[in-house]
Symmetry: C3
Subunit: 325 residues, 3 copies
């Protein structure tokens, strides 16, 4: 079990481009550090004992494509810590794009703030930004590539609910081919003693290289087309299947209904099954599921603030912060 | 006369969906509490003795349609109290709308902030949000339905200028049919000893149910088509008539000029007449009126910050706040 | 050399519409005052000894056309000083424009904040706003007219790098006809003992009235079409030539390549040449120039925050601030 000093050493002043850049110990140290921010949720709006550890610090949020949840979750984390935020929510309301390279944009923006959350439609944009920036870059999603803070909050949520990340059977359902969160979380879970199962339509099955990687590590426990065939599960991670993936609307309708969970389809897994979803959902999780004790997706969303508070505090916080741990 | 303890009991932790949800005592307590924030206006930019009572608190502003005045007025109030703001100014720059229900959106956003100002084009949206949210929802306008903080600041402005809300003759001029502010303020004024008069074109006259309600309470003092026929007035509340209401542009031009006030048309009411307008105005109040002592509309706009400061402080402030009163 | 008391007297509570409104002493006092904010850059993200001198103050940013660099630079300056920001980034996401006059908008917004940065496509908008506003108006660019804080930061950058503003040979290259920054900086430099040179295509040469003014003051040292003909230079201020100026795309391509600097074209001026650019650049400064010691444009961008911090602090800061100087 890592401690806060480890967490600070691992994250202070660093960019976060991909979850793959961090070791198992780094990740555990982050998840441990995040626990202290849970009370923001528990105590809710009446809680006021805030340590404004990032007062005077400024977070830049550069969203070259909109992602309101990711943006507001980062902003909430920064504001809760006493910091401030500037930036833009969409490239359409920015004049940055007009012929300027991303490298130039980053070299300008690093003069405005102490760290940058970058959301960009192009794969590799965050890596490029991190290479040229003098301030930490936090990847808020770069195309279909990486979204590391989503992976951290997913891990945090599973661990919070199950008490551990070891010994679990974790199923992924929905779009296994293009689902960035699926690939990233599955890869991160390989740090732990887990069995992974995949449930989805054939045309949206795992990318070959990820499948090969899982097979090579002997972690691909099942790859099936129906939830009923998945066997035991401790965690079910549901993702949305997007209509754009289907040339024929009829195919989409069929698949859409086949990969929708409700109380009936979840009943065989028992009351302890944890259901996660990165949100927004459309109809792939019936609202009747919301009241089940294992329906964690709104908690998961709230954990996004918790984990991002920890991350921002570790990255930007004063060096002395580790001493009191 | 209610006191601050009453105000806190009435508003702390509560949603504000409609002015109708609050009693006469609640409203008076709010207006009383708001007085202490007047000094922000009087002392202007050189004033610095701010009590940051909402430091560390975060207000979410979810504007599914733009309303820059309402948004900035709430934001100013929150920032003046030491709090922070996050959100979006228009549904077009939010990715929330993509197939997600309002209920899901609220359950996500309540994890980011301590209260939410919601502006939504659909009637009833604020009520629905308040029912599912674990944080207070402040209705910033839901379709043609309610805009309670506008009503509170209108009442505050009349009371500030007239010294009382009792014994007044209040005229409403312009769009009486669709004017949300007219309906809401007229209804709230029924708590007080007022006479109400309505001046407008026939096709934009009072909705039947509101007329019936006013008649039943014996408060409908006049319903006329010309300001010259309105008789005595202490207050004149002018609203804009929108071109969309008139299929024939010629009809609109005629009405537009008939319901425009200038120094000449206001002269018969004497120098004590108070003129209000929710803004923006186009041409329905001549700019020559601005210099009259009774031209209160810009003061009314500033009072929007005053009253929203009081409201946010009461709703989100610490429980101990009432003790020092 | 002016002191901080002079700076405060010159700027406190004042609007900043045009650099021409300020005397040489005023400008020097501002540049001197700005020096203390340099450490924000030097110490970077780990620096935390911030004096939140504008805590509780609110800056309104009204951008009726987008200008992300100007907006974020002002916002960063305000936030670094402990203040807060509200406003909008583009007229398209504001409901202010709908038929309301700028005068009305300003009279509403002055109730929300302690100062306003106004960006507006119309020449003279900032002057008009400053005339009616009860709070200081900072011109963030009004059409092709003025952008005074850009001029201040340009002066600051030249002085910081050269150690002085006197005795310099300053060349301007690119769009001399329409380049607002060129006109404003050249005019401001007339306060100092400088020689001015202009390099650009014939169809984008100096406006006649500015040329006459420079000639009358005996400061127009050279007006040439090629950088190679400019003679000695201490400073080269490069601006972008916009395609819209050329009806024939072939003409544009030819000019675009002729007014592009790279290591080869800059070599004759020696290693001490300072290269500035208001950014964004497209291709008019080759990226191979970025590593030259005299490539100041990113430093110039960072100086935008430095100078705007000084300006906001002088304009909005407490009166007592000057005493400790």
């Amino acid at each position: 079990m890592a401690d806060l000093a480890h967490a600070r050493a691992a994250f202070q002043g660093r960019s976060v481009v991909s979850a793959d850049d961090f070791s198992k110990d780094d990740i555990i140290a982050l998840l441990d550090a995040a626990r202290q921010y849970d009370r923001f949720q528990d105590d809710g709006p009446t809680w006021a004992g805030i340590e404004p550890s990032l007062q005077g610090r400024v977070l830049g949020v550069l969203f070259f494509e909109p992602s309101t949840r990711t943006r507001l979750s980062f902003e909430s984390a920064m504001l809760r810590l006493g910091g401030s935020v500037l930036g833009f929510a969409d490239a359409n309301i920015s004049s940055f794009s007009k012929g300027e390279t991303l490298v130039d944009t980053i070299r300008v923006v690093e003069g405005y703030c102490d760290a940058v959350v970058l959301r960009h439609p192009r794969e590799g944009a965050a890596r490029l930004a991190a290479e040229v920036a003098s301030v930490p870059i936090l990847n808020g999603g770069d195309g279909s590539n990486q979204h590391p803070t989503q992976t951290f909050l997913d891990l945090y949520t599973i661990r919070q609910a199950a008490g551990t990340l070891d010994g679990l059977k974790v199923g992924f359902m929905g779009d296994l081919r293009y689902g960035r969160t699926v690939h990233s979380l599955a890869t991160a879970l390989l740090h732990f003693d887990v069995n992974l199962k995949f449930i989805g339509p054939e045309n949206l099955s795992l990318p070959p290289d990820l499948r090969d990687h899982l097979v090579a590590q002997d972690r691909l426990d099942a790859e099936v087309e129906s939830l009923a065939d998945a066997g035991d599960l401790d965690v079910l991670y549901v993702t949305r299947i997007q209509q754009e993936r289907f040339p024929d609307p009829m195919d989409y309708q069929r698949v859409r209904n086949a990969y929708r969970v409700d109380r009936e389809s979840l009943a065989p897994f028992g009351p302890d099954l944890k259901v996660l979803h990165p949100l927004p959902r459309v109809n792939e999780v019936a609202t009747e599921v919301d009241d089940l004790p294992g329906a964690l997706y709104f908690q998961q969303s709230r954990n996004g603030v918790t984990v991002r508070m920890a991350l921002l505090d570790l990255i930007l916080g004063a060096q002395g912060g580790g001493e009191s741990a």
